[in-house]
Amino acid sequence: MLEIKNLHARIAEDGSEILRGIDLTVNPGEIHAIMGPNGSGKSTLSYILAGKEDYEITEGEILFNGENLLEMEPDERAAAGVFLAFQYPIEIPGVATMEFLKTAINAQRKARGEDALSIPDFMKLVKAKSADLNVTMDMLKRPLNVGFSGGEKKRAEILQMALLEPKLCVLDETDSGLDIDALRIVSEGVNKLRSPDRSMIVITHYQRLLDHIVPDVVHVLSKGKIVKTGGKELALELEKNGYADYTGAAA
């Protein structure tokens, strides 16, 4: 599904190096958790996967189902099946949520050579998926993310994910800003999307999220490199001992 080979990247504007040789292979159906302290490069990795232009790749490559991901535009990546659930979903005043969802779904369908969804089919789909995530009609009537609470924004992100049915889901600190109930709703939404042909990369600081979304593999990212890889028990160990062992190890 995804192969990252020796990826080096820096911030285009000031040249500071963030990623220093990442190797990561994610097979279909697997859930990989990436944990690490602040500033280790977790969010940068997620942005680079989605195609944000603020970074410069200095070395390495990313293959997505055999294709060179780095040569694709952000919208092409999305149509190919990459989805980033943003850590801070952006408010867009003046863009109605429903209009946005319809535009996004149909743009992806068009890119894949499929017919646009009819309005009744679209409405039916949104109604079914939003009920699971406790996303109300009232939220859907508002401009995109405007006036949403932190939890509402995260639920709306997962709703988008459920509607767009991506092949690779990248969840960037989806647990941040969530209370216990919201965490449960969001995690259930994510778990519903688990399937043998869908992979996920779950980025988080805390082991708590991984109680709900149980990973197959856990990686520790520190100073732009993966310094340790293990099973789900690695997350528990980190929760107990902190990152000190690894930040030291990488230095």
Partner: protein
């Protein structure tokens, strides 16, 4: 005391045009005197130019290279044919009043249906010939010796007087369409009078091609006590001409005026408004949506006179510029010394889609009262990269994402204007403009 100036070719042409046309122009002796005086102003001062404060960013003298003759009168059939080819409002269910090549065409206007709704129509030229003709050319103090108004007064070819009787609420919007059937300057003046408690929704459109001559249209609104007037002006036309519109508004007590002027015009477009509160507890909501590309200049200029206490005004203007286009917003709220409890809020926002685009934002407050709430603001920026990335990360291609964001930016004004009849028409116009790139 005026020093004689060297007239440009266009200015000399305008003076000659007046001499050639004056005997054929409508009006009483008093009107003829006003026309001559206005033409004298052109001869003495020329066209408004960049050293005239109000035209600093919109130099009409530099733009107008020559003066075309006034557009010739056309037959009803010619006007009808041209109108059929240039429908600006599509399916909108409305009444229509037609002005073709500067003259009112009663035969193509819904005279009887409007009469039944309490709206009477009269030819502006017939009114100009009457005892009160000169009063029809009166202008507010805040307009000073405005050059565009002077051009209009000198040359006005015709127009309509629309009166809504007290208490009448017109059930459908009324389109006042001005169509350029052939080349030549089109100079019109329309008076819109609302009786006490009357309600009217007006849509003013310009159709046909802006050719060699200038289009100069004045709209004079008189909104009586408790009346409501909502007007949408579409300054959308093709071609390379100058399109100039002036609004003069007088608002009575407990009344409401709401306007939106949409500009997606040819090379030189100016919409200027002089709004005056004449009665207490009234409200004016003035909106503007401007789109310009190429080398076009689009100017929204506005003076709101809070001459009496307890009135609210809201001014909200949005501008989108591409290529080497220039946008101008000049807005001033005047609050007289005794106009206490005035509430005024003015905002102008511009979105620049290219490096070469340029916006001049000039919001001003002039306040002599001491118990008022007044605010103004101006912003100018590019499309937010983070918003664009978010949309693209969901699979929306670049151009479509930009369209969504430009529409979102402009929709704030269009939706706050909240005239449902025209919301979809305006948003479609924005999409068309973006797609025409």
């Amino acid at each position: 005391m005026t020093t004689p100036i060297n007239l440009t070719q266009a200015e000399t042409g305008l003076v000659d045009r007046f001499d050639a046309a004056r005997t054929g122009l409508a009006g009483s002796d008093a009107v003829a005197a006003l026309r001559a005086s206005a033409a004298g102003q052109i001869k003495a001062k020329g066209l408004p130019h960049r050293r005239v404060e109000e035209y600093k960013y919109s130099d009409l003298r530099a733009f107008l290279k020559s003066a075309a003759p006034l557009a010739a009168a056309v037959s009803v059939d010619e006007a009808k044919a041209a109108l059929g080819a240039a429908d600006m409002l599509g399916e909108l269910d409305r009444y229509r009043i037609v002005i073709a090549n500067g003259s009112y065409v009663a035969e193509l206007s819904d005279v009887a249906a409007l009469e039944a709704e309490g709206v009477s129509l009269a030819d502006f030229n017939a009114a100009l010939a009457g005892d009160k003709g000169a009063a029809l050319l009166a202008q507010p103090k805040s307009a000073g010796t405005d050059g565009v108004l002077a051009l209009n007064t000198a040359f006005v070819q015709g127009g309509v007087v629309l009166s809504v009787k007290a208490g009448a609420e017109v059930s459908k919007p009324v389109e006042l369409v001005q169509i350029a059937v052939s080349e030549g300057a089109q100079v019109t003046r329309c008076r819109v009078e609302l009786g006490e408690g009357a309600k009217l929704r007006l849509v003013e459109t310009f159709a046909g091609k802006a050719g060699a001559g200038e289009t100069n249209a004045v709209f004079d609104y008189d909104v009586a006590d408790k009346a409501h007037l909502a007007t949408t002006r579409l300054m959308i036309s093709e071609g390379a001409g100058a399109v100039l519109a002036t609004t003069l508004s007088r608002i009575g007590a407990k009344a409401e005026l709401k306007t939106l002027c949409f500009i997606a015009g040819p090379d030189f477009t100016r919409n200027q408004q002089f709004v005056a509160f004449a009665g207490e507890n009234s409200e004016a909501k003035i909106y503007g949506v401007t789109l310009a590309r190429g080398k076009a200049l689009a100017d929204q200029t506005l003076i709101v006179d809070h001459a009496v206490p307890h009135c609210n005004s809201r001014e909200f203007f949005k501008t989108v510029l591409d290529d080497d286009a220039r946008g101008v917003y000049q807005g001033r709220i005047n609050v007289a010394q005794h106009a206490q409890k005035t509430d005024g809020e003015m905002m102008t926002q511009a979105l620049l889609l290219s490096e070469g685009a340029e916006m001049a934002n000039k919001p001003e407050l002039e306040i002599f009262a001491d118990d008022v709430i007044c605010a103004h603001g101006a912003t100018c920026g590019e499309i937010d990269e983070d918003l664009l990335f978010y949309l693209r990360a969901r699979g929306i291609p670049l151009e479509e994402a930009k369209t969504l964001l430009v529409l979102a930016f402009l929709s704030e004004a269009i939706e706050e204007f909240a005239e449902e009849d025209v919301t979809e028409i305006l948003e479609q116009r924005v999409r068309d403009w973006l797609a025409a790139k």
